[in-house]
């Protein structure tokens, strides 16, 4: 009897162990399986702004490459060491994974939670414009990149597409987005930190980006550039600083400007002004650039001075990026936590228009007129008065006719370089394209002046075959391989 009982109990327990459904235990109670599309959008927008704004030496070192800033003690990046800190990986991961893919998922989720076909269409178009913007940095940094196969986990080893093909496809997407944007309907609202969902502004943004992308390929394909630029202008580009695409950071972490994190919150003393940019701002002369106090602080003895590129420097002896948190007397704001990240602005737009006219494109105005507007927009954006801008433009080295540089493009190049201060990534593209001002590699540099970034180590490791094909296709995975748009 007891034996039977024992056997019975044992079997019943054995069976009870088999029947249960355990699968529900594997549903994570703390993380959602679905989220609102706009939450993804806001985060991706912030990550994008962080990436182009950052001064983190693991991510964005273009201010150093462009000799706007200079490192003090640990001068590796100022000397073009992009491998020790895997900077290409940092950029690739940030833009593809954290930005592009989250925008991609935003597009997928919009129909789920947005009512109104017009609003859905607007939101998808705006998200796509942000993606085009993001791809612009990838393709002008690396050359051939994954595009048709990208953002698809079923293709863990994506093929790389030809850079020019990608670029032209981006232009086609922009056209479609511009056509899709309906200024009569709403979009993201407050989830859009840049324009608060203003579709009119987004349409201008898309056209202005298109203008920029058109100008970028002027040396590659003048006819195409002309068409793109002219059609962009016809759509309507930025007409004042109030059109600027700015990401307004907040005063407290974790949503501050990343420059504040690196330069103020960390209390490190890694960056000072670089002598290259500083010299062009003509400190201690009667011709000092009106933007000078907005760009830099003074050093411990009250003077503006930059350290030489690539060499070590004592923090206290040199000017620093502006802001009262670094030097209390500074009237600039670069190192303030809520200093906005600038994604696209009116000043560069005017420079692009000046260049377009100089290249003979059918755009209204004159080269000098747009040049003057560009410089004025930059000076006033930074905080100096229009009067100061006008005075500055009267200086012989600045006034368009007599400006430094000789050719139209060099004159534009020099002033654009100064206007793109604190936007090292864009400055780098313009330096490569316009070849002016000429930046000399430090004698201690590890390589020549980099005209592209090498592919990420992770791609080299993981995506071997496609990586090798891409490296061959562009003429070698080197920092000295010129990219498709960089013809001189």
């Amino acid at each position: 009897m007891k034996k039977i009982l024992g056997v019975f109990l044992l079997t019943s327990i054995l069976f009870s162990a088999c029947k249960k459904d355990l699968t529900s235990l594997n549903n994570d109670p703390k993380n959602p399986s679905i989220v609102p599309s706009y939450a993804l959008f806001t985060n991706a927008q912030r990550r994008l702004s962080n990436t182009v704004t950052s001064s983190n030496v693991n991510l964005n070192i273009f201010r150093l490459i462009e000799q706007q800033w200079q490192e003090t003690t640990y001068t590796d990046e100022s000397n073009y060491d992009i491998t020790t800190r895997s900077i290409p990986d940092g950029i690739w991961n940030a833009l593809y994974r954290d930005v592009l893919y989250n925008f991609e998922r935003t597009k997928v989720l919009i129909p789920n939670d947005v009512t109104g076909a017009d609003i859905q269409k607007n939101e998808i178009a705006i998200t796509d414009v942000m993606q085009v913007y993001t791809y612009y940095y990838l393709v002008t940094t690396f050359g051939d990149i994954p595009y048709t196969d990208a953002l698809d986990i079923s293709k863990p080893f994506p093929r790389f597409d030809d850079a020019k093909t990608v670029y032209y496809s981006l232009l086609t997407r922009l056209d479609a987005d511009i056509a899709a944007l309906n200024t009569g309907a709403a979009s993201f609202g407050s989830a859009d930190v840049i324009y608060g969902g203003d579709v009119t502004k987004w349409k201008k943004f898309a056209a202005t980006l298109k203008l920029k992308m058109g100008i970028t390929i002027a040396d590659l394909d003048n006819a195409k550039a002309k068409t793109v630029v002219e059609s962009a202008v016809a759509t309507g580009v930025f007409t004042s600083n109030s059109d600027n695409a700015q990401f307004q950071y907040l005063t407290s972490p974790p949503n501050t400007n990343p420059v504040w994190v690196d330069l103020v919150q960390s209390a490190r003393q890694d960056f000072v002004a670089c002598s290259t940019t500083m010299a062009l701002l003509k400190p201690q002369t009667a011709f000092a650039d009106p933007r000078l106090p907005y760009y830099f602080t003074v050093n411990s003895t009250g003077t503006y001075i930059g350290a030489d590129p690539g060499s070590s420097a004592t923090f206290s002896l040199f000017s620093k990026p502006s802001g009262p948190l670094l030097v209390s007397s500074s009237i600039g704001k670069i190192t303030n936590p809520d200093f906005p990240g600038l994604l696209l602005d009116y000043s560069e737009t005017e420079f692009n228009l000046a260049e377009a006219i100089s290249r003979g494109y059918a755009v209204a105005g004159s080269v000098a007129g747009h040049y003057n507007s560009a410089v004025t927009a930059s000076v006033t954006y930074w905080g100096a008065s229009a009067t100061a801008a006008a005075a500055y433009l009267l200086q012989p080295t600045v006034a368009f006719v007599t400006a430094t540089g000789g050719t139209d493009l060099h004159k534009i190049g020099l002033q654009k370089y100064l206007a793109l201060y604190n936007r090292g990534w864009d400055a780098w593209t313009e330096t490569r394209r316009l070849d002016y001002p000429v930046l000399t590699a430090p004698s201690t540099a590890q390589t020549e002046f980099p005209v592209r970034f090498t592919y990420p180590v992770n791609e080299q490791n993981v995506n071997v075959t496609n990586y090798n094909k891409a490296a061959t296709a562009i003429g070698g995975d080197l920092v000295t391989t010129k990219l498709f748009f960089d013809k001189h």
Binding site: C18, N31, T83, W92, D98, R105, I153, T314, S316, V462
Partner: protein
């Protein structure tokens, strides 16, 4: 389930009461035939039951028995005797067994005992005394070198985790730690250090939970090495099992007291040595005329003075010159005697070696046991206070062990145990490369230091003020005395310390019912549960953002087991042992992590409400796992000659998708005791060959099937969310391991010489991996069943008794392990494109630990030299080495072999033993050397060059050196390179390969001298039965190593990422004095 188990227990109890029978007491004495001396510890039991006792020191026993029973007397090395009870006294004479080795009872999977004859897999047993003899607070460390096939890596920081791997790493990203089981209760040993800590960033090593186990409560440890031995444990047994049998009460009241005091000190061969020729700086580019100093008017005399470049955390500055007077950091400290004074420019008298303290630790334990016919009882308390070699670091443990069994009838017994552990850590050493947080002062001392800084002066400055007065002022001339990169190390230790507390319960209740002599049914519910609070803090005025964080963690694992065991002689020659059982395991892991945001408002107040900005919502985790298993097994033996064994287990896991969540673990094993057929050769005492094959599986990590999004703190009032960077997989299958093993056991000359050898091969396939994908996919990782790792290896252990006399005994044990692993498959995408490398982690310095295709698991990758066809290094036109891309294999973190040699001598009451622990080969990357050689800390950066000049002189002054190698055309390099600025010997100019070192070592791991008072003296001491004094040394001497200034064994944490050092802690030598009293 819980309910049904309870019902079972109740019914078992009821049934038992019916079985009470009439008892009477039998007393007697057991002696040995050869010498007529009493034999203590003989197991006396009523045949066919669990009821029994053991003989005491004088060989006596007393047992209450029913009428007409047969008593069984068994003891290792003697033939078991069965004697019918007649009358109230019985004296038994035991005869030594010629087959003794085969009769040794070894605990196997699920606590089921088998004699060695019946055991067809590799298992090695170590006694509790052996494990525990060094009085180390973590018993696991006591296994190093003592078990073939077991690789133990200990980290040196106080309380840090121990890596315990049997037969090599099998699972590329999964857990490879052996499973710990105490008396049938699985014990959690997962490392719950932060992922940043584990990947080499800053953090604290909170240790391995297995180190909670009370060493004083261990009777023996059995290591089940292969899958066949452990297949009954299901997925968790796939990495081998360490079975711990706790102390059991012997007949009568026994009290054991252990009291020990230890003193530790740093093994200086494992810490930095500094050059004494050059002081602070990175080179000559500051603003005094020489370029080596800061320059400004400090004393107000209108002339510029020399000031130490305090921001420069390197020793590549001005040559020391006692006649040169420099304003150093203490000249700016108003509380210092040197305030306002320029002092001679010389190397510090007290370098960072004087930062270490000599910690005194102590351990007290008492264990009270009582065994009667009706059951047994055990109560123990242990208090362990351990202090570390760096200031303000300690771990205090309180452990209570309570256990009892009660024999309700001769057929039914119940038991239970509760072990309570209370662990309190304060100031655990920071680990890793910590950037702004600077919690690991070793990175400061080993990588970024100015050798002119006197550590005792820094201590005095902290002691005087309690403030963060640092040598690393941001800008002394401008009056900015805040630290730029490094805090005063004493401020770090006394202000920015962590604290943690863990309360843990491990316990079980069980019942064993033996309805008939050949059947035993056991039911058991066991629990391992802990709550832990880890608090970390950084005070205001430290480098980086001050913060307070708290991580509330909880874990519980509950197991419900029901097991039926059959042991039946089928005929005179055949014996069958069979089992059938079920196991339900439930795990619940939770944590809530909160941290202040943006800093602290009020200094020294560590609460979330003291946050400068509004804190983000806490990060919560809740993970549940349940695995339901059923299993069966049978062992058939024929005349002690042949054993055949088979087991099967089926598991169903909650972490796998429904369609794939059930999987099987079969094992078959066989043993053949050929010595039975060779009895004419008397020199051969025992000979057995064994072979087995098993398949085991493993489930997936919790939440790797369904995709989720993460919620990010909102941007103002806008919510934010992101796609996770790992793609989950709804089609995962279990990970599988196939394992085969053959073994040979031999014993000669009456067991004076023994040998046990195994050869094994395992293949782990369909590995559940978060594989690296191109991040252009939008993900970093994607969960797949991909990858195969093969391991094969040899384990040998040899034991001998070279001398055995009445008074003097010399025993020797040798263990040898050699494992070879190879990653034979990673993963392919749909197009057949195959991944060649899986990066497991990348570290500071650009090196990574990898699973590379067709390479051993755990390759170190990084930049290498470029080599000419004859193997010489190629030097470029500038005299510097050419370097490869960032992905060359530059080292293999696995040893060629490991081994241990243990010798023990006993002479009357004295004993002496020592263990030499050896590791041959394997590589380690030293980030400390990578940076420390660049910053000029070490003597290697100061020498007289081939021209007879200091190498750090400028080239113009005859300094510099020529890198050995050839030019690209093959001619010997003749270009002299400068060593006058930082970097020449370190990371800036050399590939990662230059900092990969051989991790071999030979260590005198343990040494012990003990003396037990002779029985004659003891008998005069009243109730005292044993008095033993021991002097114990641990990590006394590193006899040989190739890694300079560090211990090659040191790593960051336990886990799969080994072979990388950063901010390494030196080895602690400990000497302990132990007194053991037994009543």
């Amino acid at each position: 389930m819980k309910k049904s188990l309870l019902t079972t227990l109740c019914i078992l109890l009821l049934a038992a009461t019916q079985l009470y029978a009439q008892n009477h007491t039998v007393t007697g004495k057991v002696t040995a035939k050869e010498d007529g001396l009493p034999v203590p510890g003989v197991s006396v039991s009523i045949k066919g039951t669990t009821t029994g006792t053991q003989t005491d020191v004088s060989g006596r026993f007393s047992l209450s028995v029913p009428d007409n029973t047969i008593l069984s007397f068994s003891f290792i090395g003697y033939i078991t005797q069965s004697v019918p009870v007649s009358g109230n006294t019985m004296n038994v004479v035991l005869v030594a067994s010629s087959q003794q080795l085969g009769e040794v009872v070894v605990t196997g999977a699920l606590g089921i005992s088998r004699t060695r004859n019946q055991q067809s897999y590799a298992a090695q047993q170590v006694s509790g005394d052996e494990v525990n003899k060094t009085r180390s607070s973590s018993f696991v460390n006591g296994l190093s070198g003592k078990v073939a096939g077991l690789e133990i890596r200990q980290n040196n920081a106080l309380g840090s985790s121990t890596n315990v791997v049997l037969r090599g790493v099998k699972s590329i990203t999964g857990n490879n730690q052996a499973l710990f089981v105490i008396d049938g209760v699985p014990v959690n040993n997962s490392n719950n250090n932060s992922s940043t800590q584990q990947s080499g960033g800053g953090g604290y090593d909170y240790g391995s939970p297995s180190s909670d186990i009370n060493p004083d409560d261990i009777e023996s440890v059995t290591v089940l090495k292969g899958a066949a031995a452990s297949a009954l444990y299901g997925s968790r047994g796939s990495n081998g099992v360490i079975l711990i049998t706790s102390k059991k009460a012997k007949k009568g009241v026994g009290i054991t007291i252990n009291s020990s005091v230890s003193v530790g000190e740093v093994d200086k061969s494992t810490f930095a040595k500094y050059q004494h020729s050059y002081g602070a700086g990175y080179g000559n580019y500051y603003n005094d005329p020489t370029g080596y100093f800061f320059y400004g008017d400090v004393n107000g005399d209108g002339k510029n003075d020399l000031v130490t470049p305090t921001t420069e955390d390197a020793s590549y500055g001005a040559k020391f010159d006692p006649n040169l007077k420099v304003y150093q950091w203490d000249a700016f400290d108003k509380t210092s005697a040197n305030f306002g004074k320029a002092t001679p420019w010389v190397a510090a008298t007290n370098d960072p070696t004087s930062f270490f303290v000599k910690p005194v630790s102590n351990n007290q334990s008492i264990m009270i046991t009582n065994g009667t016919d009706g059951g047994s009882f055990k109560l123990g308390f242990t208090r362990n206070d351990e202090n570390g070699i760096i200031p303000n670091s300690s771990i205090k443990k309180n452990i209570v062990d309570l256990g009892g069994t009660y024999n309700i009838t001769s057929k039914l017994s119940v038991g239970g145990s509760v072990n309570y552990y209370n662990i309190n850590g304060v100031g655990r050493p920071g680990t890793g490369y910590d950037g702004a947080s600077a919690r690991n002062v070793m990175t400061n001392f080993r990588q970024w230091w100015e050798v002119n800084n006197d550590v005792k002066a820094l201590k005095a400055a902290y002691d005087r003020t309690g403030k963060n007065i640092t040598w690393n002022y941001a800008d002394p001339l401008a009056g900015n005395l805040t630290p730029i990169f490094w805090d005063n190390p004493y401020y770090v230790r006394y202000q920015n310390f962590e604290s943690d507390t863990r309360n843990r319960y491990i316990g079980n209740v069980n019942a064993t019912y033996k309805p008939v002599s050949w059947l035993t049914i056991t039911g058991r519910t066991s629990l391992d549960s802990y709550t832990e609070l880890d608090e970390e803090r950084k005070n205001v005025s430290s480098v980086g953002v001050p913060y307070y964080s708290r991580n509330n963690k909880s874990f519980s694992e509950t197991n419900y087991d029901l097991l039926a065991n059959v042991d039946k002689n089928l005929s005179k020659s055949f014996n069958l042992k069979a089992l059938l059982g079920t196991n339900i395991r439930k795990e619940n892991t939770q944590s809530v992590y909160s941290v202040t945001n943006g800093g602290l408002i009020v200094p020294s107040v560590y609460s979330l409400s003291n946050s400068l900005n509004t804190p983000n919502a806490p990060v919560e985790y809740k993970g549940l796992r349940e695995v339901d298993g059923i299993f069966a097994g049978a062992t058939l033996t024929y005349n002690n000659l042949i054993t055949l064994d088979g087991t099967i287990r089926r598991d169903k896991s909650s972490t796998l998708p429904k369609a794939n969540n059930t999987y099987y673990y079969p094992s078959v094993a066989g043993g053949f005791i050929f010595s039975e057929l060779l009895k004419q050769y008397t020199w051969l005492s025992y000979g057995k060959i064994r072979a087995n094959y098993a398949q085991v599986g493993a489930d997936a990590p919790v939440y790797s099937v369904n995709d989720t999004y993460s919620i990010i703190p909102p941007f103002g009032s806008s919510p934010q969310s992101a796609v996770n960077t790992t793609k989950n997989n709804p089609n995962l299958k279990p990970e599988r391991t196939k394992s085969a093993e053959v073994g040979l056991e031999l014993s000669f000359f009456n067991n004076r010489l023994g040998f046990d050898g195994s050869y094994y091969a395992t293949s782990t396939f369909d590995e559940i991996l978060p594989v690296n994908v191109s991040t252009a996919t939008g993900y970093s990782f994607s969960y797949l069943n991909a990858g195969t790792v093969k391991n094969k290896g040899i384990e040998l252990s040899l034991n001998g008794t070279p001398i055995r006399t009445q008074d003097f005994n010399w025993k020797m044990t040798l263990n040898f392990t050699r494992n070879r692993s190879k990653v034979t498959e990673l993963f392919k995408d749909g197009t057949g494109e195959e991944s060649k490398n899986l990066e497991l982690n990348s570290y500071q310095g650009g090196v990574s630990i990898n699973a590379s295709l067709n390479q051993p698991f755990g390759m170190i990758r990084g930049t290498d030299y470029k080599y000419a066809s004859n193997g010489q290094k190629i030097v470029g036109a500038n005299g510097q080495y050419l370097q490869s891309g960032p992905n060359e294999n530059i080292g293999n973190s696995n040893p060629d072999w490991i081994g241990g040699i243990n010798n023990s001598f006993t002479y009357k009451g004295f004993n002496l033993s020592f263990l030499v622990d050896i590791r041959k080969g394997g590589s380690v990357f030293s980030t400390d050397m990578y940076y420390g050689l660049a910053t000029g800390l070490y003597p290697e950066t100061v020498y007289t060059n081939d021209l007879g000049n200091p190498v750090r002189n400028t080239l113009a002054n005859g300094g510099g050196f020529i890198r050995p190698g050839v030019t690209e055309s093959g001619a010997p390099n003749t270009v002299r390179v400068s060593a006058s600025n930082y970097g020449a010997f370190g990371y800036a100019r050399l590939p990662d390969k230059a900092f990969v070192y051989d991790a071999s070592y030979v260590k005198l791991r343990e040494a012990l001298i003990g003396y037990s008072l002779p029985q004659k003296t003891i008998s005069t001491l009243g109730p005292i039965k044993e008095v033993t004094f021991q002097l114990i040394g641990r990590n006394l001497w590193i006899i040989h190593k190739n890694l300079p200034y560090s211990d090659p064994e040191e790593g960051l944490t336990s886990g799969n990422l080994q072979g990388y050092q950063v901010g390494a802690y030196p080895t602690t030598r400990t000497i302990s004095l132990n007194l053991k009293l037994r009543f």
